[in-house]
Amino acid sequence: MDKLIFGRYYPGDSFVHRLDPRLKLIVNILFIVVIFFLKNWYDYLILGSVVLLGVIFSGVSIRFFLKGLRPMLWLILFTVILQLFFTSGETVYWQWGWLVISREGLINATYIALRFLLIIFMSTLLTLTTQPLAIADGLEYLIRPLKAIKLPVNDVALMLSIALRFVPKLMDETTKIMNAQRARGVDFNNGSLFKRVKALIPLLIPLMMSSLDIATDLTTAMISRGYRDGEGRSRFRILKWRQRDSWTLLGFVIVSIAVMI
């Protein structure tokens, strides 16, 4: 329950786990860009092998990746069906009104499905092998250039890490309030949609109140421990870019260039 935001971290000590979160983020972003430049089956095969390699080196069972796929299944299916029936082409296999299944449509639909599949596998690889906090640290590093446009990067990073830290606490709080309201006769699980939405009000308002209380307490504690703003702070947690990160990046860039030309 408490790993809600960034998916499900799978503890481990594999090669992929030990890669720098910045590297994993960069590779993910590059990957999404590269995947739209693919032209033929061989390119998909190569990128597919890259992903497969990552999965193998992560030491995480493929089952967890398939689980990551499940919430996206309907979106994939919907897009694939659209592509399949609404792409006109020269070789038509089947037609009924505006619905056409053509050779081009079939190929496009398969490509789209493959793109989805690969992107989801790649991002699941990131979330399964990287702790949420490390992802937040990596993000902070990558958005540093935005300081130039006056974005308070350090504050944003602290906010992110505090938000992550309080997810389980707010979950607890929600359960507590739900139980308290159930004891007073609120029914969260039955009735019409309208009734159920209405039942959420006695949940949301106390939850909001208690969040504000927590925020006030936390602010007091932070100020009393000398927090002013993000500037002039030193860092306890640091990221270490190692040789294996450079090599992995180099390898990925070479593969990317190879498939794009």
Binding site: P168, S224, R228, S234, R235
Partner: protein, 280 residues
């Protein structure tokens, strides 16, 4: 040579926004360094408000605060916050870091202490509160008492002159509570700092060198535990009950048993009782 009080409060008045009564009303007091000081009073007496004025979390409408002889102002307040650490009541709502070690480092990060120094101090502080083995844990996996020990480590890592426990044990189970109190006794024996514990638990207050009783924003009385608890009438008037040993002593004296006329802790009371008719 006259000692400089570590904290001196002069004529401080503070009224919360929209409140009719001031929470602190022309209060003045002095606290001496390297003592264990307890501030007692019932809920709403103003004792926590008082503590919040010490490091500028609350800015009084009138009056002055001196920290180690230095007047608390907008310029000095950050310096004071580095030297005065507070452990608050709610273990969850003061845990800033994502892990135990991160949380201990938070205060040092704010003061720009270099990372190498932080690593050393985090380890030392966590070992002091016996939480080093938990350094990679997330707060959700810790008990209330463990979280308070981490909060205490965060304060210790800043090397403060004053540690304030603002009802820090009131949300803990008896075991967590005694862990914190034991820890404070050990710390006091080991280091040189002033401990201020704000509490309505008289047994906790009885461990102090000096006790201040606050009510309605006034200082009612102050003294060492033996004189302080002997004034049971005043205590009752302000919503407090003396410790169990003092209640027993009072009842024994009332029924004509000749005991010494001052507060005795449990051991002293037992000793006095069993030696009462000893003719040696």
């Amino acid at each position: 040579m006259k000692l400089t009080p570590i904290i001196e409060v002069r004529d401080v008045t503070y009224r919360y926004p929209y409140a009719e009564q001031p929470a602190l009303d022309q209060i003045s007091l002095q606290m001496m360094p390297n003592q264990w000081i307890a501030i007692v009073g019932h809920n709403g007496s103003g004792k926590s408000t008082l503590a919040k004025t010490f490091n500028g979390l609350i800015e009084p409408q009138s009056g002055e605060i001196y920290f180690d002889g230095q007047l608390l102002t907008e310029e000095t307040v950050w310096d004071v916050r580095g030297q005065l650490g507070i452990v608050f009541q709610n273990p969850d709502n003061q845990f800033v870091g994502a892990t135990v070690a991160d949380d201990v480092a938070f205060g040092m990060e704010n003061n720009g202490i270099p990372r190498d120094e932080m690593l050393v101090r985090v380890e030392a502080a966590l070992r002091q509160v016996r939480m080093w083995d938990y350094r990679h844990q997330e707060p959700a996996r810790l008990s209330g008492g463990q979280k308070q020990r981490v909060a205490l480590a965060g304060v210790l890592a800043q090397r403060p002159k004053v540690i304030i426990l603002d009802e820090a044990t009131s949300m803990l189970d008896p075991q967590g509570r005694s862990e914190i109190i034991d820890l404070m006794s050990q710390l006091r024996a080991a280091g040189d700092f002033t401990i201020i514990s704000i509490t309505h638990d008289v047994d906790e207050a009885a461990l102090a060198d000096q006790i201040f009783l606050i009510d309605d924003g006034h200082l009612i009385m102050q003294g060492a535990p033996d004189e302080f608890f002997a004034k049971s009438d005043e205590l009752h008037d302000h919503g407090l009950i003396e410790p169990l040993s003092e209640q027993i002593r009072g009842k024994l004296v009332a029924s004509g048993i000749n005991l010494s006329n001052k507060y005795l802790d449990e051991n002293q009371l037992v000793d006095e009782l069993w030696t009462l008719h000893l003719n040696m």
